[in-house]
Symmetry: C3
């Protein structure tokens, strides 16, 4: 990818000051920038760097007045920071979707269809009866099982494994190593102490605009027609466990290494920190915030609480209790002292009374 400074300026609705034909390949920080790169200057603290930077272009505020010579081409805009952020997003989109075509060898089963501008990396596997939308990127070594459906603009990173029957919406990103649709953990204890496998025949539904990190696992639902559901806009980090029949509500964010047990329903706009554990068959209210390593063993009915501990309770109360926990040996000592004082006093008293 390569753009002229003039093209970038046009995109940002900015004005070029200097050589508009200079070529831009990459973005960088002003203090690190090299030729072919574009940087920005927003915070006056960094002004010094604009006189020494090797950046081919720098985005600056409209009213910027140079106090020394500037060799970089300038792009004048209203808000350099948000212009740069817009460029970052554009650049990220470009590199995310730049791959296209079909690398060989790759595998696609009978009766499967793919949309326009698809990428199918080498050693990727697509089963039978799969429907894949436009602009989808199936990276190398990814696996897409039979009867899977994937919407438009979704990116499946290298080595993702998607079991049969999974549905994935539009604009999703699934990172490497993640497993979607593996069997729920269901085993019926037998009289001889062994366990019989409960067949897992449901699927996983991932709605639009969902991001899933690396090496996360989302199990399928148990029964035919049931689904483990990840609602629109959910963001899942790495190494998360989502058990069978779980539902994660719209725009809920879950940090790494958290685990949700079977059939639990997480509300909308919740924030779950890392290494949280939630037991099965619970309902967690909307806007619940769970601190790191929290353990939830009962449903949370009131919305908007911030909780922590095992089992969880109010985060401020937890820290107050924990402050006393740290002094427990002292408390214990004081209690014993007091007991002996009271005992001594009472004895003394009873003898004098």
């Amino acid at each position: 990818m390569e753009f002229t400074v003039a093209q970038v300026a046009a995109m940002l609705g900015g004005e070029v000051k200097g050589d508009g034909s200079a070529k831009i390949k990459m973005l960088s920080k002003i203090q690190d920038a090299k030729p072919g790169q574009i940087a920005f200057l927003s915070n006056p603290k960094y002004e010094q760097y604009i006189y020494t930077t090797q950046a081919s272009a720098v985005i600056v505020k409209k009213d910027f007045v140079a106090r020394k010579e500037v060799t970089s081409t300038l792009i004048l805009v209203d808000d350099p920071y948000s212009s740069f952020t817009a460029l970052l997003e554009e650049y990220h989109k470009l590199i995310s979707f730049q791959k296209s075509g079909i690398e060989q060898p790759s595998f696609i089963g009978d009766n499967s269809t793919t949309g326009k501008n698809i990428y199918r990396g080498a050693f990727s596997y697509i089963g039978t009866n799969v429907k894949i939308g436009d602009n989808v990127k199936i990276h190398p070594q990814a696996f897409v099982g039979d009867d899977v459906q994937i919407g438009n603009n979704t990116i499946i990173h290298p080595g993702v494994k998607i079991y049969s029957g999974t549905r994935i919406g539009n604009n999703c990103v699934i990172h490497s190593g993640t497993v979607i649709g593996s069997d729920g953990f269901g085993f019926a204890p037998q009289e001889d102490g062994s366990y019989k496998t409960i067949p897992q025949l449901g699927n996983v539904i991932i709605e639009d605009n969902v991001t899933v990190g690396g090496n996360t696992v989302i199990d399928c639902a148990t029964m035919f027609g049931d689904a483990t559901i990840i609602r629109e806009g959910v963001k899942l980090d790495n190494l998360i466990q989502i058990a069978h029949n779980v539902e994660v509500g719209k725009h809920t964010v879950i940090a790494a290494q958290t685990g949700i047990s079977g059939s639990t329903k997480i509300g909308e706009n919740c924030l779950l920190a890392g290494q949280v554990g939630i037991a099965g068959h619970l309902v967690i209210a909307n806007n619940t915030s769970l601190g790191a390593q929290a353990g939830v063993s009962k449903s949370i009915k009131e919305e908007g609480q911030k909780l922590i501990g095992y089992p969880v309770f109010d985060i401020k109360e937890y820290f107050k209790s924990y402050a006393v926990f740290k002094k427990l040996p002292d408390l214990n000592y004081r209690l014993r002292e007091l007991e002996s004082k009271v005992l001594k006093h009472n004895n003394a008293h009873s003898s004098v009374d």
Copy 2:
């Protein structure tokens, strides 16, 4: 897969009422069923649906008497629920084992043998001197290292990685992304603060009827001739860590994200909840039950205990202590009040005494 209602009825030892030649492809719930699907009616609460369902067949109790017209073919049995469950299991087995043959490209090294009715998916890799039994399914992108042995009827899902020398028994299921036989975490501290790798030369043995979830890791044992052992019937969930030289006893069940440190021996018929951590070189007695997020730092000698906390103790005692923990600031306050009362009183007393 497609069966006639008559074939299904024969399998269940049931009687057909209606069109026995109707074709069945799938199972469903009575309220959701579509043509080509079979459902069941057991709970009278659902009777209404039998008059509106589109199911091609419904399994009902022998003595079921329709109060309105039923268009579905009926299969009359003693116990519709257990008949349906039997069908689910049969169906699950069928779809689990339906793939066979060798997709190309796939890789198999010298001197490796595979049994009857094998499936080797595209981009699967089998090393040298590997022995694989009958009816084994090696799904796409799975890796089976040199000198590995796998019994009969074992399913290796897409992208599983099995290091050299691993032994896996009969009727096992290993889900996607799981790694078996990676190096144990052994490093000897050196005087300069660096660490020297302790060579990991043992292997992993997985006995019969073991299920392992997705993205779990089972490390090999350290020494030649030693093994990390997963005994018969063990069920491991997703994202579990099993370190070098661990042994997990028969019919023990371990939930997601639990970690067992090196050389620890877990007994038989234990139940470990999610996110449990167990330190190294311990012995955990049979029938031990560990609550979620429990931390075990000492061996557990008495069988049949239910434990929780870090470090663990009796689960009921834990919850009693925790109830007081939540009121610790109040306890602290009351103790201070009492101290000042006693102090005041004693002072008053000593002045009057």
Copy 3:
């Protein structure tokens, strides 16, 4: 691999007693050894086995005097244990680096170069502009993205996924399923409750002599030019989460299932036990030791502490507090008793005073 006893003895600087032409293929314990294997005798407790072992050779102390007939060839050395350990290391190195050549099909993009004695397993994928050093082993189904650089003698196990732009040093080992360079977890909340993805454009740098276990995830840094950095000699276990912009200092060891949140900087020579969680934007001092399941929510400034709990404090203090925690119901009871005694006494008093 096969060596004569004489060759092994020469390597160890030992003296052969018996048939120096005997062939050795493997190492074993003296009590388990079979023909073709070499064992050692160091602890006198095991002397009995030297008279019955089938080992083709046994390494013994220089001054060993057999009290019965020994059929194995002996190799006499100063320290049998360390000689055997040296053999183990040599053997481990041999098997780790024995694979070489290019298996087909495998994929390599334009403008990528590999050094001498390389192994590229079947279904491995190397992108464009990749630079790989000498003696590097890219195992089957591994993925190496565009613009990646890998030093010499580094082993990439089956199915590892390395995103574009990652730098990996010399003598590293990356185990199966590990993901390096996936997007950091960065999302900006929007007014409508949804989240906007913050582009993740940095990379991951792994220095020399680093080992990473299986199914670990290391996210890339957020900004261009920034990196998530794993310093020289770091040892990471399985299923670890390393978020964007984290730095792990030289020779730090981290056990399984631990998670480090974004932008946190871990010092040198730290020891983190399993299932530890560390919040974002913290600094952890050198030589810090964190116990299992510890939760760190503030920076740790003093070096060399041993900490545990959530949030962490001194490990000895924690266990003292925890000992009282286990007796909290009793404490609570005693406090109430005391309160009622004092109350009764004061009442009695106030009535008599």
